[in-house]
C-alpha cells in the first residue's frame, strides 16, 4: 500500500484521494489518481502531501478524480520540406491512380527497398465525377503529406484520373514528383524497372533532405479508433484525449473523425465549437449520416455498434459515440473539414467528416497532412499506414497481453487505477519518440493498410441536395 510506484516523474507527486477516505477491509486493488500534478519543472516544488493514513473502506464507492495536466512541449528531429512543413518520416511514395496499377505500385516499392512506400487502392476507374475527385484529392493529399520526400504517380494510361494533374498538385509542396505510365513504357516489366530506378534515385536524394529540430506545435496528430469495446471509452480514448490536450496546449493540431460515431454525442461536441459555422456544419453532417440510415429504411443497430463492439460490451451507437469522442480530448472544436481536406498546422482540435471505416478514415487524415496517427483499439486491431506511423493504444488488459506485439501503449493500467495523467503522458511521450524516429509496432511489421473512401450513390445524392 502507500504511494503507488509510478514513473520517476510521478514519484513523490502522487497523493491519495483517499486522504479524506479512511478505509479498512479488503485492500483496494486500484491505484488512486494523482491529483496534485502541477508541472514537471524544477521551479514548482512538489506540494507537501498529507502522510498516508491507514486505509479503511467505510464507503463502498471510491472516487477517482480528474487530474491536472502537465504542460510540456517536446522537440524532435524531422525533415523540413520546401513548403515549410516538417515530416517525421522521409518516404518516397508510389501513388497508383487506380486499382489497375495497384499491384505494380507495390512491386516497385518492394524492389526499390526500404523507405519506398506504395499506396495501393481499389478506386480510380469509372467513378462518378464527385467520387473521382475525392480519389484525386486523397492521392494528391497523401503525396503532399510532409512525411513524403518525393513521389511517383503511376498510371496504366486508361484512367479518367490524370496522373499529370495529380503530380502537378503534389509538386505544389515543392517536392520532386515523376509520373510513370505502364502502357507508355511497354508493360509491367519496364514499368517496374523504371519505377525502381526513379524510386532509388529519389531515395538517394531524400537522404540529403535537411534535418531540423522542430517542436510539438508543428505536429498534426490524427486520432482514430477501431475494434472498440467498453474499455475504449474508459481507458484508451481518454488517454489519447489527454495526449491531444497536451499537444494542443503546446500549439499543435489534433484531428478526429468518423461522423457516424458522433451520433448521440454530437450535442457535447456542438457545445464545444468555437463558432456558429462549425457548430452548424457538425450538426448537419451528423444529421446527414443519420438520415442516410433512415432514408434507406435500415436500422443502424445491425452495423453500429458492430457485432464485435457489442461482444465487447457496447450496446448502442450513443454509447459507442460517447466513448469515441473523448479520444479528441477536451479542448474547443476549432473547425470541421471534409474528408481528405488539408488540416491546419497549429490549429488546435479540428474534426474531419469521414465515414466510420477506420482504414479509410486514417487515410483521410493522412491526406489532410497528419504526420502521426494514434489508433485506439479495445478488441485488437493491427492497422497501420504506409505514410504515417500509427501508434496503437489499447485499454483492454486482455488485448494488451494477447496482442502485445501489435500494441505500442498499454492504457489498460487506467482500469487498474493509474492516473489519466500518467497514461495520457505515456501516449504523449510515445508521440514524441515516434516523431523523433522510433518505429511503431505497425511499422516494424510493415502493416500498411491503405484504402480510399468511395462516395456512395446516396451520399452523392445528399451532396446534390446540400449543393
Amino acid at each position: 500500500m502507500g504511494v503507488p510506484s509510478g514513473s520517476g516523474l510521478l514519484n513523490g507527486l502522487l497523493s491519495h484521494r483517499s486522504a479524506s477516505v479512511e478505509s479498512t477491509g479488503p485492500r483496494l486493488p486500484y491505484r488512486i489518481a494523482a491529483n496534485c500534478l502541477q508541472a514537471n519543472v524544477a521551479s514548482a516544488p512538489p506540494k507537501p502531501r498529507e502522510p498516508p493514513r491507514a486505509r479503511t473502506i467505510p464507503v463502498e464507492r471510491v472516487k477517482l478524480q480528474e487530474t491536472k495536466r502537465i504542460t510540456v512541449t517536446f522537440t524532435f528531429t524531422g525533415y523540413r520540406r520546401p513548403d515549410g512543413r516538417i515530416g517525421v518520416r522521409n518516404h518516397v511514395a508510389v501513388l497508383p491512380t487506380s486499382v489497375a496499377v495497384s499491384s505494380i505500385a507495390e512491386r516497385i516499392a518492394e524492389t526499390a527497398g526500404d523507405g519506398v512506400r506504395a499506396t495501393p487502392h481499389q478506386m480510380g476507374t469509372s467513378q462518378p465525377d464527385r467520387a473521382r475527385e475525392q480519389t484525386e484529392q486523397v492521392l494528391a493529399g497523401v503525396g503532399k503529406n510532409p512525411n513524403v520526400a518525393a513521389a511517383i504517380v503511376l498510371e496504366l494510361g486508361t484512367e479518367s484520373i490524370d496522373a499529370d494533374a495529380i503530380a502537378d498538385e503534389v509538386s505544389k509542396s515543392g517536392i520532386p514528383v515523376e509520373t510513370l505510365s505502364v502502357r507508355s513504357v511497354g508493360g509491367t516489366g519496364p514499368a517496374i524497372e523504371q519505377g525502381r530506378e526513379t524510386a532509388t534515385a529519389f531515395r538517394r536524394d531524400s537522404e540529403d533532405v535537411r534535418r531540423e529540430e522542430a517542436d510539438a506545435s508543428e505536429i498534426v496528430f490524427g486520432v482514430e479508433c477501431g475494434g472498440s469495446d467498453a474499455t475504449s471509452g474508459i481507458a484508451a480514448n481518454p488517454a489519447v484525449g489527454e495526449a491531444c490536450d497536451r499537444l494542443i496546449e503546446a500549439g499543435g493540431t489534433a484531428c478526429f473523425s468518423e461522423t457516424p460515431e458522433f451520433i448521440g454525442a454530437e450535442h457535447i461536441l456542438a457545445d464545444r465549437c468555437t463558432d456558429e459555422e462549425t457548430r452548424e456544419r457538425l450538426l448537419n453532417r451528423v444529421d446527414q449520416r443519420e438520415a442516410q440510415a433512415e432514408l434507406m429504411g435500415v436500422d443502424l443497430r445491425g452495423a453500429q455498434p458492430t457485432p464485435g463492439n457489442q461482444e465487447g460490451g457496447l450496446t448502442t451507437i450513443e454509447e459507442k459515440s460517447l466513448g469515441a469522442i473523448v479520444k479528441g480530448g477536451t479542448t474547443p472544436v476549432e473547425g470541421m473539414v471534409d474528408y481528405a481536406e488539408p488540416l491546419p498546422v497549429g490549429g488546435g482540435l479540428v474534426l474531419m467528416d469521414t465515414p466510420g471505416y477506420d482504414v479509410e478514415s486514417v487515410v483521410g487524415k493522412v491526406a489532410g497532412g497528419a504526420q502521426i496517427i494514434a489508433f485506439t483499439t479495445g478488441r485488437g486491431s493491427t492497422t497501420g499506414n504506409p505514410i504515417a506511423p500509427v501508434i496503437k493504444v489499447t485499454g483492454n488488459p486482455r488485448t494488451w497481453d494477447r496482442m502485445a506485439s501489435n500494441m505500442d501503449v498499454n492504457a489498460s493500467t487506467i482500469v487498474e487505477g493509474d492516473s489519466m495523467s500518467e497514461v495520457g503522458g505515456r501516449v504523449y511521450e510515445t508521440m514524441a519518440a515516434v516523431a523523433d524516429g522510433r518505429r511503431t509496432a505497425a511499422e516494424h511489421r510493415r502493416l500498411e493498410e491503405f484504402a480510399i473512401n468511395e462516395l456512395q450513390p446516396n451520399e452523392l445524392a445528399a451532396e446534390g441536395i446540400r449543393g
Binding site: P26, L28, L64, I234, A293, L295, R301, G313, L322
Partner: protein, 102 residues
Amino acid sequence: MKGEVLGDGVGLVLHADDNVATALQDLEAQDPIDGDTTAVESVPFGHKVALEPIADGDEVVKYGEVIGRASGSIAPGEWVHTHNCESTRGRGDLAEEGVAES
C-alpha cells in the same frame, strides 16, 4: 480515470447520474455490486449491470448521458445489453414503420 470504483473493483460508475455500472471483472450471479445490489446473472468484463430498477421505456444512462432506452423492465443487478436496451438513433426501421419521433 473519472468515475467511482465499486467495492473492491467489481465495477465502475462513470457519472453520478448513471443507472448502470461497467463490470471490471467477469461477474457471476450473487456477486456483490453496490450496496445491497448483487448481480442476478453473469455479466462479462466491460458489459453493463443495472444499479437501480429501470422501467420499460426509461432512459439508460452512462457517462451521465442517455445511451438508449430500456426495451423491457430491468432489475438492479441485471445485465444491460442489446436484449433489454435499444438505441434511439439512426432508426431507419422505425422511420419506415412511421413510428419514429420526428
